[in-house]
Each structure stands twice: as C-alpha cells, then as structure tokens.
Symmetry: D2
Subunit: 289 residues, 4 copies
C-alpha cells in the first residue's frame, strides 16, 4: 500500500529571483520528475520590480530527502537563477528566547510550544533578570541568567553569542527583551532574530510607545513582530495586530491591552517563521500564509 | 520592443478535480509551451477530500487568445481530468442588480463601478419600487420597474427572466432585494446570483435578522454575501464582515451599523466574483485572493 | 494631607429598575451628601422597555465603607425602586475554575491572575482529568481531581458543589470544561458561572462547533463567553471575539485559531465580571466598559 | 396625555473643567429641578490631570428650550466652573464639504445625509475641480468651483471664507481635499474643520501615505479622521480605521482598500461630531459614544 503524500518526508523551498517565463513550470516539472507530490505552492510576482517569489512544499518519494533537497537547491539556483533556502519539514528547529522582566510574550511562546504547535523546541531562555527562572524550570527549559550591568554589555553579549552558538540555535526571539542588541551581536549571531515591538510601527518607534500613543490620543494601538536589523525598530515586518482604545484608557490600560496584542503578534510571527512561510526581500517580507 | 506580460491579453482559469501528482507541472508546462507568462497562480489541496483547486492567470502571446482559451480548456478537462472555467481578462461582464427600497448596497455597487474598479458594467437595475429610479437615470443605467403584487410573483419573475436573458447578463446581484426568488427562477436564470444577507450566517437566517440579533444580545453583528441556492440563506458564502455592538445599540442602531457592513461585504464579494477569484465546491467557496 | 479620591475605599454599585426622572440626581446627590467622590458613572436607558441601568463607582470618605454600602443599598432599593448589587472594590473575590483536557483558556486565566490584573484569586482548579495538575501545583493553586464516569455525574456534581461551598467561591469559570452542568448543579451553585463556547453564538451551538463551521464554509470564526443558564449555550453573552479564516483552514487550523479566540474572549469576560462591569437583564448583558 | 422624554425638545451639553466632588450631582440635580429627564449621561475623569468631562443629553419640559440652554450654560460655567458647549438636538447644522478629484469620501457623506442619518444638511460643495459638479447637482447641493492656481491661494481662500461665512456654516469637512489650508484660513473659518488623512496617523503623515506604507512593508493600513490644526496631520484624532494588507497588494491595491477605510472613518467621525459626541481637550478627543 502506498503512503499518502502527507505521510512522506516533506521538503519546503523558498525561492526568489528575476522573473522570467517558465519558472513555475520549471519548479513543478522538476518535482514531478523526482516523483514528488506538491502539497502547497504559492507564488508572487512583484510586477514593478520584476521579481518572482515562491514557496513550494512537496512530499518526496526519495529514500534520501536530504539529497533531494540538495539537488533541488542546485537546480533552482543554477538553472533558474533563484536564491533558494530549503528545509526538511520534519527537522525540529532550535529556538532561544531572550526575555527581561515582562514575561507575558515569553509565556505565550512556552505554551504554544507545549501545545505541540511547533516543529521546533525551545532550547534556552536567556535573561538579564530572574523573573522567568522558575517558569523555565517548570517547562524543563535551561535558564541562563546573564545580568546586564553598566559597562558590561559587550561582555554579556559575548557570553550570549557563545551560548547560542554552542546550542546550535536556528532562531532567536526577543520576547520583550528590553535591551538593544549591538550591531556586532547581530553580525555574529548567525541566525534570524525576531523582536516584538509594542507599537504599530512605524508609529511610535523607540522607547515607551504606549506613553507616546497616549500622548498623541490615537484610537487604536498595535504591536509589531519584525526581524531585527541594526537600525532600531526598522527591520522587515512579519505580522501586526491592533485593537481599539479610547480616552478612557489610561497608560496602564494601554499597557494591559498591549500585552494581549504583543502575545498575539509574536506568537503568529514565530509560527510563520518556523513553518518557513516568511521570505525577506529588500527590508520587507513576503508571507506565504 | 516586446510588450510586458501585463500588457498582453490575459486568460484566467479556475480548475478543480481529483488530486494527483503532476497537476501544477501539467498546467504550468502547457502555458509555458504556448509562450505564455504566468502572472498569478494559486492552488489549494483539500487533503481530506483529495481534491485539487487552482486559479491561474497568464499573459498570452497568442494572436488569438480565445482559441488558446479553448485549447487550454480541452487540455485541462481531458488530460488532467479537471472541471474548468476560463475567462478572457479583458471581457467586460454584464451585471444586473435587483433592488428594493433599501438602496445603500446598490449605491455602493454603482460607485464601485463608476470608480473604475470593475472589468464589468451594470446593464440594468430591476426593482419592485421606484426608489432607485432617479439614481439609475443619473448613472445612465436602464431602470426597470416591476411592481410585485400578491399573486403575480410568477408573472413578475417571468418578465425578469426574459429581461435578463435579453440583456445577456453574466451576474445577478440582489442588493437588499427583499423578495425571495423561486426555485424556478433560479433554475432558469442561467448565471450566478449573489445575495447580501444582513446577518453573520448561519446565525439569524430568515427575516428581520437585526431584530433577532438585538433580542439575543450578541456583541458583534455581521453581514454575509453568498451565492443564492434554492435553500434560503444557505448558499456558498463568499465574504463576511462583522463589527462590535453593545447594549447601547437599539435595533435602529443595528440597522444603521449593519448598512455599513452590508455595503462592505457585498462590494467585496462582487469584486472577487468579477475577478474570477471564487470557485464553488460542495456548497462552499474557495476564494483565491 | 487629604488622600486622593482614588486612594480611598471604593464602592461599586450596579442598579437597574423602572426609569423615571431624577434617578441620576438621586444617586449622585446621595453620594455627594456622604462626602463621596464619584470616580466613574455610566448609565443606560432602554427607551423601549423603560428600564434604567447604572454602574457607579465612588471613593468613600466614610471610616466604615461596609456600612455606607448597606446604607446605599437601602436608599437605592427603597427610595428609587432599583435592584441593586454593591461591592467593596478592595475585596478580593474567590474564583474556581473547572477545566478538562483543553488547557489553554485555563492557562490564560492563571497568567492574568499572576500578572496582577485581578482583584481576585484563583482558589481551586477542579478537573475530571489530571492534565492541569502539575501547572496548578506550580502556580500554588489547589487541584481537585474528580473523574467523571458514566452514571456518576450526580455524585461528582455533589462533590463539586460541596467543595465550591466550602471555599466560599464568588465565581465559577468553565475554561473549556467539556461536561454539561445539570440544572440541579446550577440551581445550587450559588454564584455566577461563566462559560467559553468555541463558536460565534448563536451560530454553531452544541458539540464540535469548529467542525460545524468548517462544514458550512464560514469566512470568520468566533468564541463567545457567556453566563451559564440551564438552556445549553443560550445564556447572556458577555463578550465575543472573531477572526478571519479561509478555505485553506482545515478543521485543525480552526481549532488552533479558535484557541486564541477562546483565550481572548474568556479572559476579557472574566475581567469585566470581576470589575463589576456586567449587569444581567432578561437574558442579555449590559456591559459598562 | 404626557409626551415621552424622547419626544420632547432635547438639549445636549458637553462640559469639562477641574474635577471636584459634586459635579455629577450638580448637573443632574439642576436638570431634575427644571423638570427635565436625562436621556444619556456619560462622564469621564482624567485622574492624572484632575479634569472632569461630561456629555449629558436631556428631554426638556420647558416651553422655551433655548432659554433653558442659556440658563444651564450659566449654571455650569459659573457655579461649577466648567467650560460648556450646549446645543438644541433638533437644530439642523449646516455642513460644507471641500473636495478635490478623489470623490469617494464626499459621495459617502452625501449618501449618509440622503439616508437621513444626520440632523444636519450639506449646504455647499466647494472644489478646485469639477469632478463632483454633476453629482452635486443631482443631490441638489450648490456647487462652487474655485480653481486653485499657482500664486492665487490667498485669493481663493478668501473667496472660500466669504462663502462659508455667508452660508453660516457649522462644520467644514475636507473629504480628500488635496490642498493644505493656511493658518490664516483656519484662524478665520470660525467653525471646526474635519479632515480625513489616508494613513494610520501618526504613521505616514504628509504626502503619498500609501506609497510610504508600501515602501515600509506594513501589514495593516489605516485612515484617520481628525480636526485640522495649523500643524499638518497633527490635530486631535476623532476616529481611525484599519485593515490587513499583504505583500500581494501593490500601491494601487492599497489605494483601493484605503478608499474604503477613508469612507468609513470620515463618515463615522462626521456623525460623531454632528451628534455632539466629541470634546476636544489638549489636542486629544474625548469621544462619548
């Protein structure tokens, strides 16, 4: 009896490059010739920029899915001229979370993971405070307390980098980590970093966005999950959430309502990333959802 | 100098049928061999039902796009086993609107059309009242007043059908038309019929949904645009909109807020339909947006 | 130095009764004469039913706020003809949660409480499963495992009632408790019971609402927090949340997205209740937010 | 037979000033003593600023509601120390709309008015283009074509001001009027001016906000209705609307989706203003809805 396509090893490729006729036919024809079955395929053309984007996920019939992945990479890069990233759907990715004293977003990620929603594991919590220490222990996640003191930032970042490297981390999530990472840290971390900013970017970048929102008298507040770049709060946006507020909401109410938004936006962005649905191009994202 | 893909005649196909390997490759390969350029392609697999769905839109390089459409239809139906509908993107569809005394949804469609948002034209307004007569004249749309009297429904529907046939209508829109169409009308109309129901279906089907919503004390109200089938308020749902209400909203407030929702939901559903983005399957819709 | 109004003991009254001139003046005049300062006052008239509703919260200057509460109750009931409930803002209410194997909504309430968002405490978790046992221990909440077996429902409900009475519980929350409470239980529980139903009521009442929603092909799903009455899924609605879904969402996706909605809707409804913002009248709620 | 409170002349007062005990009692007692019946009363305390805000609407039993309005104004200003504005609910306000070539928001306001949603009338359309000329004629609204040429701005604004004064206008609405009004115009217009800005302010103030939003790659776009002040796009925000967008949306799609948001946000803001629900304080609004 043959297995269903869903039961076979899955490969997921993200492609982008100069648009030209035959790209969809090329990719789908290659997969068909290997005996694969396309489970999902989604493409996008940026007509003004002349760029083609695709996410394709297929069930492989090869006994060696890793080799098929390598062969696909070579085909798409060399014959189609595409930038390619390709992943084996079954590989559990390794996530590290940096958190400070605001723990709600971190707690949400722990629950998503425990709920079985990820093909990934949280392999470490790093914090400059001990607020999450007990919860980490309860969830069986190693907790690393690296206090941040004046003048010691470079040293602490060095220890963080060593730890992340040692743990072979695939993704770093800043779950309301209240420190700004240095350009040097970002240059060496070696994997994507997702941050949750507590405003509807680009409005209210920087510090104390709920205080800024209250002062401006906006009628909606938001939260923005984005990849971190060296420019503060300027990286590619993955997901945003908003909700209504009114004059009745004091800053404390905005903080409370905002916590809900931050949880939602970060949880969704991390899920989209871990499912290989996000492609970054020119400081923007293409999200294949 | 060659034309850009966007400037060529566009063909849009909607396909569905039994899933099997090679469908994406088959479709995209066929288009590539004709010299076409895929502008958008979106596919969906219903894994549990084993059905494949696709919307594909391409720029044709053929001097005779209509023949290419026919050839594609034959290929997809015969060689891939798909149900196919295919349209020439540039063909202006012909829309008739049935309306009663509640004119807001009809006015919205007139403005969408006048704004240039459609590759379609409103070729007739049919009404059992004269409320829209003047506005129809102002927009240059022929207005047909067919009063509905007790015992004359079959006769009026007969005149409506004759008119719609004579006008070669591609789509009938019920923009708050307060009469229930007979199964006989639906059997003979010969084109899709879209209705706007003033509730979040399946809640509050039938008459006076805002009164029902008020009596139940719901905290959100909605509007639902759907294809009409012989079962009242049960056809495939195309689009739904909702907004918050509170105990402060009397029935009149719900009616007013609901008008905004009805306009939004119907306008969006008609646009999706006219852009060939909606595929009906087993009383549900696949909306390629 | 005088204290600010916010720093004094707060009293919160919910009133409703036959509308007549002078009710706002009566209530506010009474409070003023006691030396109180109104912090919030919100009233609503149901013009068609002729009913007046009010929530008023004030800072008392009395050395004995409990006596002032009793005096206000007598005044509003006897002189104004109102039904009254009145609470001391500083009193920590006692909440019990009934939960089954779906733990996300229960976890959200635990986090809300630990975040310091409530003037209330979770004094017990009752479950027919042991899924939440460990988490309860971690949060320091007594956990009571009462397995539900065929034919033992009356006995188990009796033990639940005894426990809730012994704990002097002010509110019972069904956080995805998959059992239907008997009319007898509801008649004897002696405090409000809030349930989260995993659909946008009144659509999809009863079992397996996400399966129902998937079968109907709706474009939005919802969750509804409501007070429990003996009629299943028919009690007064406190809060509802919705989000968009599409044909791409299989039942499992609806379940996942729905978990987010259930958390949001239940968390908000419990907060509104605990802040004495919800007044029930004729199977509907007036929510003073 | 006595009339119902709703059937009597209605008075609507907006108050704000330094908070102190007895304000609610003072206002409601005064109304009660005149034989009035409060229909709605909503108050707000800004605890940090120590400011009290109230909207109170009552049915007057006086044969001379205008005199009662004047007496209330004197009482609230002199005895309670409040800033007061008071209006007779039945008075039809006079609205002038300034519009350019983007007509959708103006059309929406015309339909709201024709639908009978306002206690107000549109008494003039002023435009630097003739796009709305025909529609104005159809709706029976005087149309004034005042072309804007280089170097003639002061002259054109002078003619606009003369016209608005002559028409005794109560409210000016900029319905996508693409000119920036001078500080001098604003100093002399003598009534509030509401503008619709086509972004989620404070993000993307200034020109071409949809182009800015596209370049930044945001996942939600918005529209903001606000009172106009001499600082561009910085006035008190009345209402905001948002909706999701994705990488699939080119600038033209954002423009189309944005039109829907602009209509919604402006329509709601104008309705709130005309119902005397908006109180401006320190460049923010208190919206009693």
């Amino acid at each position: 009896m043959k297995s269903t396509p869903e039961a076979r090893p899955r490969l997921i490729a993200l492609l982008h490059g100069p648009d030209r006729p035959g790209l969809v036919a090329g990719v789908s024809g290659w997969i068909y010739r290997q005996g694969g079955t396309i489970l999902h395929a989604d493409q996008h053309r940026d007509a003004s920029a002349g760029v083609f984007f695709q996410r394709v996920e297929w069930g492989s019939s090869s006994p060696d899915a890793a080799s098929e992945a390598a062969a696909f990479h070579a085909y798409a890069a060399e014959e189609l001229g595409m930038s390619v990233s390709i992943a084996l759907g079954s590989r559990r990715q390794r996530v590290a979370i940096l958190v400070s004293q605001h723990v709600h977003a971190c707690q949400e990620l722990l629950l998503d993971w425990r709920q079985g929603e990820w093909t990934a594991d949280i392999v470490a919590l790093l914090s400059n405070h001990t607020t999450m220490q007990e919860a980490a222990r309860e969830h069986g996640v190693p907790f690393h307390h690296l206090p941040m003191e004046a003048g010691r930032k470079a040293e602490v970042e060095g220890r963080q980098l060593a730890l992340l490297r040692e743990l072979h981390v695939d993704l770093v999530v800043l779950a309301r980590y209240m420190q700004i990472l240095s350009a040097d840290f970002l240059a060496h971390v070696g994997c994507p970093v997702i941050n949750i900013h507590h405003s509807f970017l680009p409005a209210f970048a920087g510090a104390r966005p709920y205080h800024q929102a209250h002062a401006r008298g906006v009628k909606l507040i938001g939260a923005t999950a984005h990849y971190v770049t060296p420019v503060l709060d300027d990286g590619p946006i993955i997901h945003q959430e908003v909700r209504r507020v009114s004059h009745r909401d004091a800053v404390d109410d905005l903080l409370r309502k905002g916590r809900g938004l931050e949880k939602l936006a970060l949880s969704e962005a991390v899920r989209l990333h871990l499912e290989h649905r996000v492609l970054v191009y020119e400081n923007k994202t293409v999200v294949f959802d």
